[in-house]
């Protein structure tokens, strides 16, 4: 799925929070200070103070010299972080994936969310208006990558939506700090005359890596979207997992089965409540000696039936080696899908399709996936191509089964060569020899000519004969190719009629 990220930046976060509690501070310059390396430094300054020339990172004494009426309050980093956390929680109404970027940023993975607001612009406007009403100065940007959104929010224009794939154009005018680089690297870049990203964006990555280290190229790649970057959501995505610690180490198969049953019941309960089912599951046993034993299953349809899933796991329980004993069991659903209550009729039948699906799962779990076949007709006359394997259960009959020509009940996988006696060219044989045995033919039907499909392969046509020998056994023989002067055609046996 295509990813979109929204970066929020609160330039005056700490001071805005103080103003919310002390409204009288709104119109006077004030700063938050804290000790650093034996000096009192400014940790945050409000907008008015900024305008007067007081910035974060100055020594408090210097600032007071510039602006004598400056109001000074102690900084409270813990309280600020708490507020940022609760803001992130609040943002969950916009997207389920929100991450914190301390000290003053939020990152939202908004993939697939903005259409509920009617597009990215209305989405952004709504979010920003609400934050403004809450009393926060905020800057935001939407882009394809975390790095790009971050850079635009802090260093670019305000409230901007970078179109898909346009990271490069958006970034070239920004200063190198926008790439989340270490201060030393930024300083070196400026020293070398690189004042905007556009000046070095086209230099070969190898060259850049030699000069500025691999972190630098990684950051650049993250902003452009060539390097993958993940975020740490405040609310982890729900995993379907159950734990069962044991008082005594378990070493018997019976004990493992009981543990598995209990875990399955718990997990299936949760799945059933949410209308979901397991497609892939893994069952782990943590042994006392630190080893982890695991078995995994897959189902052909999402299922939350404990008995069915248990039967699938049960086949593999003998492969678990408990050794000295297992002290913790974990059951996790790796792949979960919605269960469609009104499933399509799987077998076009009145039979209960879930029971059959469960049976198929059992068979697949025991003897492998490529063992089950169902066939649909294919629009080919060539016998080997007249059927196709029905790969998924939702493939339906599009053409009817051909009935006009009789086909043998048994078809050999490969036609086997035979020797025949034919009274005259283009006549059916009167006897044939197959595997050193001679069959005298008394009844013959045919020929039925089947041509190779020239758009698939080239080859000789086949003339098929239905023949019956003296004992009544019926065969399907064919002559490959025509009679000609230079070579005799070959004969083959291809099947048996009932």
């Amino acid at each position: 799925m295509h990813k979109r990220f929204l970066s929020l930046w609160f330039p005056f976060f700490a001071t805005d929070r103080i103003v919310k509690h002390h409204p009288h501070l709104q119109d006077i310059p004030f700063v938050l200070s804290g000790p650093e390396r034996g000096r009192t430094m400014i940790k945050a300054a409000n907008k008015i103070a900024n305008r007067e020339g007081v910035f974060v990172g100055m020594v408090l004494a210097d600032a007071q010299a510039i602006l004598p009426q400056l109001h000074v309050l102690p900084e409270e980093p813990d309280a600020t972080e708490n507020v940022l956390n609760s803001l992130a929680q609040w943002c969950l109404r916009f997207t389920p994936i929100v991450a914190i970027e301390p000290p003053d940023g939020l990152l939202l993975d908004i993939s697939g969310c903005p259409h509920l607001w009617g597009g990215e612009h209305p989405y952004l406007d709504d979010l920003m208006d609400r934050l403004h009403k809450g009393g926060y100065e905020v800057r935001a940007a939407i882009a394809d990558t975390i790095g790009c959104a971050w850079a635009i929010a802090r260093h670019g224009q305000h409230r901007i939506v970078v179109p898909t794939g346009a990271q490069e154009e958006a970034l070239i005018t920004l200063p190198p700090t926008a790439l989340r680089l270490e201060p030393a690297v930024v300083e070196r870049l400026h020293k070398l005359g690189f004042h905007t990203i556009g000046q070095f964006i086209h230099i070969a990555p190898g060259t850049l890596r030699r000069r500025f280290g691999s972190t630098f190229t990684a950051r650049l790649g993250q902003a452009l979207g060539t390097v993958f970057e993940t975020l740490q959501p405040i609310q982890p995505l729900k995993s379907y997992q159950e734990h069962l610690p044991c008082l005594e180490p378990i070493c018997t198969a019976t004990g493992i089965k009981i543990a598995l049953q209990r875990l399955l019941e718990l997990l299936c309960n949760t799945l059933a409540k949410e209308g979901k089912g397991m497609r892939r599951g893994i069952f782990k046993g943590y042994r006392i000696d630190g080893n982890v034993q695991q078995i995994s299953i897959g189902t052909s349809r999402a299922s939350h039936s404990p008995t069915h899933l248990f039967r699938l796991f049960e086949l593999q329980i003998p492969t678990i080696e408990p050794a000295l004993g297992i002290e913790l069991f974990v059951l996790e659903a790796l792949l979960v899908e919605d269960i469609n209550e009104a499933q399509e009729t799987l077998w076009e039948s009145r039979g209960d399709s879930t029971e059959i699906a469960e049976l198929m799962d059992n068979i697949v779990a025991k003897i492998g996936i490529n063992t089950i076949h169902r066939y649909l007709p294919a629009a080919h006359h060539w016998p080997e191509r007249a059927i196709r394997d029905r790969i998924s259960s939702d493939m339906h009959l599009q053409t009817t089964w051909p009935t006009q020509n009789l086909r043998p009940l048994h078809l050999l996988p490969h036609p086997e060569p035979i020797e025949v006696m034919v009274p005259l060219p283009d006549y059916p044989p009167i006897l044939f020899r197959h595997r050193k045995k001679i069959y005298k033919l008394v009844k013959v039907d045919g020929p039925e000519r089947i041509e190779q499909e020239w758009w698939i392969t080239n080859g000789k046509p086949r003339d098929y004969y239905r023949v019956e020998d003296e004992s009544g056994a019926r065969y399907w023989l064919f002559r490959s190719g025509h009679y000609s002067d230079d070579s005799a055609p070959e004969w083959f046996i291809h099947g048996f009629f009932a």
Binding site: W347, E348, S349, R350, G351, D352, S353, E355, I356, L359, M360, N362, I363, K366, I367, T371, I372, H373, R374, Y375, L376, P377, P383, A386, I387, R390, L397, W401, P402, T403, L406, R407, P408, L409, H410, L411, L412, P413, P423, L424, Y427, P428, I430, V442, K443, V444, D445, R466, V467, E468, S471, G472, A473, R474, Y475, G495, F496, F497, A498
Partner: protein
């Protein structure tokens, strides 16, 4: 009067015995399915082709295996009338699905399971016989032991699914716990009025063993979507065919 009452009592007792022997379907669901095997009804217990049991077919050659599968397909066409799918387990399958259309079976309603050995085939068969929504299970395999066939018989007694064990080229013909043992051979095909060409399939059906029934030999043909019994006089015509002359 007394005689009639006695007969009635004997009949009831016989049915009770049949139920105990695992012929549940034969007694309860009589006349439910019509296999069209009227001429050989006398051979079956209660004059009904037993369903919900295991039938054994033995075929020593590839040609007779085809004949057996043809006969099984004829039986399946009735069993599958309720539109339930059927499972076909085999280790070296050569069955060609489109041909089943001749026997009134929609080939896509059959689930083929290809296994590598007899043991796997038996495992799959036992699992699938447990599944009541299947109409029948056919297993093509080599050798089965008596104990293994007993397991299968126990399963069908619970679930009521009909099973067919088709033994191809078995090393030994050992007695099994199945209710019947059939040998199907090819017979000369039937053409009305001795027309030239290969006609409708005809099989020599030899019912070697049937529990509570009478074994026998019949000739059955298949056309028009049903079994057709061929009387010996009809056969005599087709059994001695004249070699067709060419040119």
């Amino acid at each position: 009067m007394e005689g009639i009452a006695k007969k009635e009592i004997i009949k009831q007792l016989q049915e009770k015995i049949l139920v105990l022997e695992g012929f549940k379907k034969a007694v309860s669901a009589r006349n439910d399915l019509d296999f069209g095997l009227r001429a050989m009804e006398d051979a079956f217990p209660c004059r009904v082709f037993p369903t919900g049991v295991i039938h054994e077919f033995i075929s020593p050659t590839a040609a007779s295996a085809t004949a057996s599968n043809g006969f099984i397909a004829g039986l399946l066409s009735t069993l599958m009338k309720k539109e339930k799918p059927c499972l076909w387990v085999s280790s070296k399958r050569s069955l060609y699905p489109p041909a089943l259309e001749l026997f009134g079976i929609a080939p896509h309603q059959i689930i083929f399971v290809d296994v590598t050995g007899d043991k796997e085939a038996l495992w799959v068969m036992e699992q699938s016989l447990n599944c009541r929504v299947l109409s029948a299970v056919v297993a093509e395999l080599g050798d089965v032991s008596f104990a293994e066939s007993q397991r299968l018989q126990l399963v069908v007694e619970r679930s009521g699914v009909t099973g067919f064990i088709h033994r191809k080229r078995p090393r030994r013909v050992t007695p099994l716990a199945c209710v019947s043992r059939w040998r199907i051979r090819h017979a000369m095909s039937y053409t009305p009025d001795n027309l030239p060409g290969v006609g409708h399939p005809v099989w020599e059906v030899h019912l070697e063993k049937i529990r509570n029934g009478k074994p026998g030999k019949w000739h059955w043909g298949w056309w028009g979507g049903q079994f057709v019994h061929l009387c010996p006089d009809k056969l005599s015509q087709s059994i001695s065919p004249k070699r067709e002359r060419y040119a």
